[in-house]
Symmetry: C2
Subunit: 229 residues, 2 copies
């Protein structure tokens, strides 16, 4: 994203998905560095800590303009700030949670939407005993009032945490009422390829399978080592 | 991973993290293709569906040996099978869940460990009302019995879903009792760099921030378009 001089006008260049996926990782690492009181970091050091090559890192950042100064490394706070702007964290997106079951409650309990620059404004559920209550300051409203709520309140992101069976119906309602982005915890494929709605699927299995790979790698290495002894 | 002819002997080559992270995505896509009755896929088609270049895909697979046949594409079932073996899904790893709160219940409810080739053998919690119960066939045991359980049962992976405050103490117990891999849902950094334990962190924020990027990109494009009109 290159901001031109004219205020508010943003010129975007198409950036690869892989680069975008690395931005939150950079952000977390920079947060860690800041917490440890480190103010400056080279692409070499950053690369070492993230398992990337320095040239990869320089190339990633160059997609969004010039951040570092040759030979001086990056200013941690400034780089963090710029990445947060690229990610849209300064835009104050409003989100709603659909489904206040286990996953929904876990998110309200443990996950900081605010740290991502997102305001969780309301949650929706069908369970009578939940409706009308507050959870960590978030009102839980009736699913029946969802359409009406969306007509009155601009919402950028719907967090979908309903049971699988309800996923497609709720998605239909969301799309019909102008929601453009769904953060999908339901393990259901919500859209056809090339659908205009943005869907970010949370795939727990990807992360467990990566771990399974690393466990296997280690076991094979151990086995190879003891075979040699 | 290149299996030599001698049975059971596995020779591993060091593969980059990025390649490993893509393997579960390949697996999901191949599952989808199989479900749609597609038996053969080219690196071009696979790349198009995953937003990767064909040469990237060929390069990824070449890390693990020869899968495809020039000009014929990949056999979907065979490629799926080989990736599942690379990921260790055929090894029947045993996992235990530490913490049967919201996240823990959500995982037992909605997530198929079995589909990842992992057996969820038991869950542990401190809550008296849960201890001794079964949830989807998984016994919930007392946290006090964790050490004893680990001494008697080989466990490859601990799924950590305890409150933040308890995370470090539980991790200490796990490491002391020989657990080598933790699937970490606590949002706490569990280890120092270069720690011998394998930790896979589930970072919800990475996925929400990527979505925030895509929303921002779209809004900027829409704004640019209406400015031109």
């Amino acid at each position: 994203m290159l901001r031109t001089e004219e205020y508010g006008k943003v010129k975007r260049i198409k950036v690869s998905n892989n680069v975008i996926r690395r931005l939150p990782r950079y952000l977390r690492k920079l947060d860690e560095l800041q917490e440890s009181g480190i103010n400056r970091v080279s692409s070499f050091e950053l690369g070492q800590q993230l398992g990337l090559t320095p040239s990869q890192i320089r190339q990633d950042f160059s997609c969004f303009g010039e951040f570092g100064q040759q030979g001086y490394g990056y200013n941690v706070a400034a780089l963090r700030e710029q990445i947060s702007v690229i990610l849209g964290m300064d835009r104050g997106y409003r989100a709603i949670l659909i489904g206040a079951g286990n996953i929904g409650h876990a998110l309200m309990d443990n996950f900081s939407f605010q740290q991502c620059g997102v305001e969780l404004a309301a949650a929706f559920d069908v369970k009578e005993s939940l409706i009308g209550t507050l959870f960590h300051g978030v009102p839980i409203l009736s699913m029946d009032s969802l359409e009406d709520y969306l007509k009155k309140n601009p919402v950028a992101i719907a967090v979908l945490a309903v049971p699988k069976e309800a996923a497609l119906n709720v998605t239909k309602t969301l799309i019909e009422n102008g929601i453009e982005a769904i953060w999908n915890f339901t393990n259901m494929e919500l859209t056809e390829p090339n659908s205009p709605i943005l869907v970010e699927n949370v795939h727990f299995s990807d992360s467990l399978l990566s771990l399974s790979y690393f466990v296997s790698e280690r076991m094979d290495e151990n086995a190879a080592r003891s075979a040699q002894e």
